[in-house]
């Protein structure tokens, strides 16, 4: 990477202005952090993911946890999300979109760009005539062994 250092260099034009200004005694920026990380004792007990949930999620998501680390990561994500229970949301409407007050634009139901069948099919790994090809359906995934560490 050494030659890259020669390609880029800093030109200090002047003393940076921010360091030159006199600090006000009563800055509006607080001098200490205004909140702390959440107190774990206020949260519900940590969730442990059981084997049934693992299998259920893998079937729904169609991705696997791969290993014990994947399960630990989900448990950590749930633990993090548990902090939401400390917020009082009584009577608060859920928000789907920041554009909720605006009308959704609908265009006329007419073909504007057609005749692109070949373009669309070109990205498929397997086609027969003009069909996408899938293997047989309605066969459940085989049951898997539990994850070892």
């Amino acid at each position: 990477m050494n030659h890259l250092h020669r390609l880029f260099r800093i030109t200090q034009v002047d003393r940076p202005v921010l360091l030159a200004i006199t600090r006000r005694l009563s800055s509006k920026v607080p001098t200490e952090p205004t909140w702390k990380e959440v107190d774990e004792s206020k949260l519900p007990n940590p969730t442990k993911i059981d084997q049934d949930t693992i299998a259920h999620l893998e079937r729904l998501a169609l991705v696997d946890f791969a290993n014990k680390e994947g399960i630990r990561r989900l448990e950590a994500a749930i633990r993090f999300a548990d902090q939401m229970f400390l917020v009082d949301t009584t009577g608060v409407e859920p928000m789907d979109s920041v554009l909720e007050d605006r009308e959704l634009y609908l265009r006329d139901d007419v073909v504007t760009e057609g005749n692109c069948k070949d373009d669309i099919l070109r990205n498929a790994g397997k086609v027969v005539e003009d069909y996408f090809v899938a293997p047989p359906g309605n066969i459940p995934l085989p049951k898997k062994e539990e994850y070892d560490s």
Binding site: P16, N123, F132
Partner: protein, 480 residues
């Protein structure tokens, strides 16, 4: 590591000096041009002092020199050469399309480009060639911009360049000492931007200075019939004044942005910038956005839920990577997705499915949507109280080392890195990173200005004022 790569910029006033100075030594002009801003480069092009072809060649040469930074996933130098030649001809004939005509640009590999591979840095789209251009790409092409290549990113835009879901424009802009604009949700089209979180994703703009961000915004903003979430109001492109009066400006300092783990240097920069505004006559007050500490938690749940739903499209049948297990549809899907996604994406898909389970839906997903409203309301109340703009840090600290980053998993790091940026995405409002100072180690420190919905002009005007004051020591490219 592209994180530590800096781009240079020069104050407008030094341009004439620079060209005269270089002329006497007979340095190749092309290399000195690479340090200029978009606005300055466009002027050289329009005055015939350089050509799009010359400029493109210089950029390609520079890109080749720094190839090991792994900036591009796909280089498009050949088509760039053709676009530059076309632009050169247009300039010669006096038919310039737009101020962007002949200006080299790069596009994050999350934006679809017709006939050019678009991977989202994911194996699942490794060989995907979109049949169409994203609207943002089309608008750049229509204005004569020269597309150099598709830039690298985290898989599915989880922390990289050119689109902003939770801070992926402002955050790297802050680390690299450049301007990074996240516009209001609904102002720029997402058509052809491969979605991560539909209700939060916005195309974002990186430039060397604030004026350039306004130019790019003018070229890109406005309703798109192909994206029903773009608003249909007419967007009026604007340029920013040189003499900016901030004495009638009311700046809010949200106290919750002094969060745990804010670095001393970033805090100091924030305090000094607040004082600078106050000294110049702006009204500066401390305000409160009380739900800020829960914002990143809310974001993590909404993000996982939308990722889980968005990634359902990758089944290997219609496009993208396809596995080889043909014993059943589900087996093919599972294998395709195991091979196609990295562990960060898989982790988000699994967490999202967990939060969306029938028994968890209200508890987690709906609760997150309720908190989202509280966060949006926090901003609304502050703005309704008369505040025009908010000033905050962009990140907790200057760029950290790779060694530091990998000590925790990606999910944990995202929680830390996006703490000041994602509330803005949840509320849909615009924000911009302005490079403000250098740390003791010489790393850029940026500050974030947050504005009201569709008030980009006010936002960028204040950003330009700050930029004018701080004299940020940009990296320069040597002229040899």
């Amino acid at each position: 590591m592209c994180r530590s790569k800096h781009h240079g910029g020069r104050p407008e006033s030094s341009l004439t000096f620079l060209t005269t100075f270089l002329a006497q030594f007979n340095f190749p002009r092309v290399f000195s041009m690479l340090g200029l801003t978009l606005k300055e480069t466009a002027r050289l092009l329009s005055e015939g002092k350089t050509t799009a072809a010359e400029l493109c060649a210089a950029c390609v040469a520079r890109a080749k020199q720094v190839q090991e930074l792994n900036v591009f996933i796909t280089e498009t130098y050949n088509t760039a050469g053709q676009q530059a030649a076309d632009s050169t001809l247009r300039h010669r004939q006096g038919n310039r399309l737009h101020v962007l005509d002949g200006i080299p640009v790069t596009i994050k590999d999350a934006f679809s480009t017709a006939g050019v591979r678009t991977t989202c840095a994911s194996r699942i789209l490794r060989d995907y060639v979109p049949p169409y251009n994203a609207t943002m790409v089309q608008r750049l092409v229509d204005r004569g911009a020269v597309l150099l290549g598709k830039t690298n990113m985290d898989e599915f835009a989880m922390g990289a360049l050119g689109s902003d879901t939770g801070g992926s424009v402002r955050n790297p802009a802050s680390y690299c000492g450049v301007v990074g604009l996240k516009p209001t949700y609904g102002l720029l089209s997402r058509h052809g931007l491969i979605p991560l979180v539909n209700s939060l994703d916005v195309p974002g703009i990186f430039t060397r200075c604030v004026d350039d961000a306004a130019i790019m915004l003018g070229a890109l903003a406005g309703h798109d019939p192909k994206d029903s979430t773009t608003v249909s109001d007419t967007f009026q492109p604007f340029s920013l004044p040189e003499d900016i009066d901030i004495t009638r400006l009311h700046v809010g300092i949200p106290k919750e942005y002094h969060a745990p783990h804010l670095s001393a240097e970033t805090l100091n920069t924030w305090q000094r910038a607040a004082d600078l505004l106050e000294d110049a006559g702006a009204r500066v007050s401390q305000v409160s956005l009380p739900h800020t500490p829960y914002s990143i938690v809310c974001y993590s749940v909404l993000c996982a839920a939308e990722v889980a739903s968005n990634m359902a499209r990758y089944d290997g049948l219609e496009f993208g990577h396809r596995g080889s297990d043909h014993s059943s549809t589900e087996a093919l899907y599972a294998q395709t997705r195991h091979e196609g996604f990295n562990d960060v994406v898989r982790g988000r898909i699994l967490a999202g499915n967990y939060f969306l389970l029938k028994r968890h839906y209200d508890h987690y997903f709906i609760q997150a949507q309720r908190i989202r409203r509280l966060i949006a309301n926090d901003f609304r109340k502050v703005f309704e109280g008369g505040v025009d703009i908010l000033l905050t840090p962009t990140t907790l600290s200057p760029a950290r080392s790779y060694r530091w980053f990998v000590q925790e998993d990606n999910r944990t790091r995202t929680e830390q890195e996006d703490v000041f940026t994602q509330p803005v995405n949840l509320a849909g409002i615009p924000a911009v990173n302005v490079p403000v100072a250098l740390s003791e180690d010489g790393l850029p420190i940026g500050l974030q200005l947050i504005g009201q919905s569709f008030q980009e002009k006010t936002l960028l005007t204040v950003a330009k004022w700050l930029e004018q004051q701080v004299n940020f020591p940009h990296l320069q490219l040597p002229e040899h």
